[in-house]
C-alpha cells in the first residue's frame, strides 16, 4: 500500500488510491504484471478482452483489425441514429419532409445523416471483409466453428438493418428498392405471398410498411444485433484462450 502510493505518479493512479477509487476499481496498484492482470480482470469494459494473447494474434496481419472497425462503426450508427430519431416521424405524409427539414433547418442534421449513411455502407464493407479475412485465416475451424456461424448471423443482421433503414427517407430510391426487394420474398414456395404481406403490412409498400420497417430498424434488429454481438465477443475471448493452448508449438 505504502509502496504503491509512493510510486503513484499520474492523476489516475492517485485517484485509484482514494477511497472512492478503490470502491470503483477494486484493484491494487498497477506495478507488477500480476497487478495489471488483476486490474484488467476486474474492469467491466476490459472484460470483453482476454488478459493475455499470443503476440502474433495482436498483429495487423492477423486480423486487419476489421472486427473492432465493424464494432466502432456500429457504435457510430447507434449514436447518429438516435440523433436522427429525434427529428423523424415514420409516416408517408411526414417522413420525406422530416428529412428535408433535417437537412436544411436542424443544426448538424445533414452531417449526422451523412455519418449515419456512410457508417452503414462502411459497416457492410467492414463486416464482409472481416468474414473474408477470417476465412483465409481458417478461423472457422475447430474449436471456433460456432463463432463463425454467429458471425454469419451478424452479417445477415447487418444487411437487414441496412435494408430496413433504406426505406425510411421515403424517396424514390427507398420506395422502389424496397418494392423490388420485398417482391423476392413472394417467390418463397407456399408461404411466400403471406410472408411478403406480413413484411409490408399490405399488398404493396404503404404507410404500414414504413412503420414496420421503422420498428424493425430502430428496435427489433438493433436489440438482436447487440445480443448476438455479445455472444460473438464472449466466444472470441474464450476461444482465443483455447487456441493459445491448442496451437502451442506448431506454426
Amino acid at each position: 500500500m505504502s509502496i504503491s502510493s509512493e510510486r503513484s505518479s499520474t492523476l489516475v493512479d492517485r485517484f485509484r488510491d482514494t477511497a472512492v477509487g478503490k470502491a470503483m476499481f477494486r484493484s491494487p496498484s498497477r506495478v507488477t504484471p500480476r497487478d495489471r492482470a488483476a486490474g484488467h480482470w476486474s474492469n467491466f469494459f476490459l472484460h470483453l478482452y482476454p488478459v493475455k494473447m499470443r503476440r502474433k494474434e495482436i498483429s495487423f496481419r492477423y486480423s486487419y483489425y476489421l472486427g473492432i472497425i465493424s464494432a466502432v462503426l456500429f457504435g457510430s450508427l447507434i449514436v447518429s441514429g438516435i440523433y436522427l430519431m429525434f427529428f423523424y416521424v415514420p409516416s408517408p405524409g411526414q417522413a420525406y419532409a422530416n428529412i428535408q427539414t433535417l437537412q436544411t433547418d436542424v443544426s448538424l442534421g445533414q452531417y449526422m445523416r451523412n455519418v449515419h449513411r456512410w457508417s452503414a455502407h462502411l459497416m457492410v464493407l467492414a463486416v464482409a471483409a472481416h468474414m473474408a479475412k477470417m476465412f483465409y485465416r481458417g478461423a472457422y475451424k475447430p474449436p471456433r466453428e460456432f463463432n463463425w456461424v454467429i458471425g454469419v448471423i451478424l452479417l445477415v443482421l447487418t444487411l437487414l438493418l441496412s435494408f430496413t433503414g433504406y426505406l425510411l427517407p421515403w424517396d424514390q430510391l427507398a420506395f422502389w428498392a424496397v418494392t423490388v426487394g420485398s417482391e423476392m420474398a413472394a417467390f418463397v414456395p407456399l408461404i411466400g405471398g403471406r410472408v411478403q404481406e406480413l413484411l409490408l403490412g399490405g399488398p404493396v409498400v404503404n404507410s404500414a410498411t414504413l412503420l414496420r420497417f421503422y420498428v424493425l430498424h430502430v428496435a427489433v434488429l438493433p436489440s438482436i444485433m447487440v445480443a448476438v454481438l455479445m455472444i460473438h465477443l464472449w466466444r472470441w475471448r474464450k476461444d482465443s484462450m483455447l487456441d493459445a493452448a491448442r496451437e502451442e508449438g506448431d506454426d
Binding site: 492482470a37 484488467h40 478482452y49 482476454p50 488478459v51 493475455k52 494473447m53 499470443r54 503476440r55 502474433k56 494474434e57 495482436i58 483489425y65 472497425i69 466502432v72 462503426l73 420525406y96 428529412i99 428535408q100 437537412q103 445533414q110 452531417y111 451523412n114 455519418v115 449513411r117 456512410w118 455502407h121 462502411l122 457492410v124 464482409a128 468474414m131 476465412f135 483465409y136 481458417g138 475451424k141 475447430p142 463463425w148 454469419v152 448471423i153 452479417l155 445477415v156 444487411l159 441496412s162 433504406y166 427517407p169 421515403w170 424517396d171 424514390q172 430510391l173 427507398a174 422502389w176 428498392a177 417482391e183 423476392m184 417467390f187 418463397v188 414456395p189 493459445a244 493452448a245 502451442e248
Partner: protein, 182 residues
C-alpha cells in the same frame, strides 16, 4: 502454494505428507481439464496495453474516416416516393446489386431465393463441411479456391449491377453515364 518438487515421496510405511496433509496417491496421466499445454510464456503479451492501443488506433482511424467523408459527401435524397413512377433504371442498394444482376438473368425463384439462401446456408455450414484441420493456405487448396472464386464472381456481379447498368437494365459504361446509387 507448495511446489511439486518439494513433495517428498517415500515408499516407507509412513505416508508422504505435504504440510499437515497426507499424500494418499499420485496418479499419472493428463490433467483433469483435458490436454492443455501452457503456451510458451515469452509468446504471450498483455492485452493492455499492447492490443488495446492497436485497437484504439484502428477505431479512431475508422471513426475519423467516416467523420471526414461526411463533411465532403452528402447522403443522397431523391424526389419523394411516387408509386406511379418507377425510376429508370431502378437500382437496389449496392450490396444487393449482385442479386439484382442475377435477377435480370434468372427466374426470381432461383436468383431471389435459391442463390441468397444457398449462400447463407453454405456459409453457416462451412465449418462443418470443411473438415480439413490445416490452417496453412497451401494445404487448403480446394476451400481457398472455391471461396476465392465465389468472392471474385460476387464482386464482379456487384460492380456490373452497381455501375455498368443503365436504363432498362441495359449495359452502360460508367465513364460515359453514371447510374450508381449509394
Amino acid at each position: 502454494m507448495t511446489d511439486e518438487s518439494e513433495v517428498k515421496v517415500s515408499l516407507a510405511d509412513e505416508p508422504a505428507t505435504i504440510g499437515s496433509k497426507r499424500v494418499l496417491g499420485i496418479v499419472p496421466g493428463k490433467p483433469i481439464a483435458g490436454e492443455r499445454k501452457e503456451p510458451a510464456k515469452k509468446d504471450m503479451v498483455m492485452v493492455w496495453p499492447h492490443l488495446l492501443v492497436r485497437h484504439a488506433v484502428a477505431a479512431l482511424g475508422a471513426l475519423i474516416t467516416v467523420l471526414v467523408v461526411s463533411v465532403f459527401f452528402d447522403a443522397p435524397l431523391r424526389e419523394i416516393a411516387n408509386p406511379e413512377l418507377t425510376p429508370n433504371p431502378e437500382k437496389a442498394p449496392w450490396y444487393f446489386a449482385a442479386l439484382q444482376e442475377l435477377l435480370s438473368h434468372f427466374h426470381p425463384m432461383v436468383a431471389g431465393i435459391l442463390v441468397p439462401g444457398g449462400i447463407v446456408a453454405g456459409l453457416i455450414a462451412l465449418p462443418f463441411l470443411d473438415r480439413n484441420p490445416s490452417l496453412a493456405t497451401k494445404s487448403r487448396k480446394v476451400a481457398v479456391t472455391a471461396f476465392t472464386t465465389f468472392m471474385v464472381v460476387w464482386i464482379i456481379l456487384t460492380l456490373i449491377g452497381f455501375a455498368f447498368r443503365g436504363p432498362n437494365w441495359g449495359w452502360v459504361w460508367p465513364w460515359n453515364e453514371w447510374h450508381g446509387e449509394l
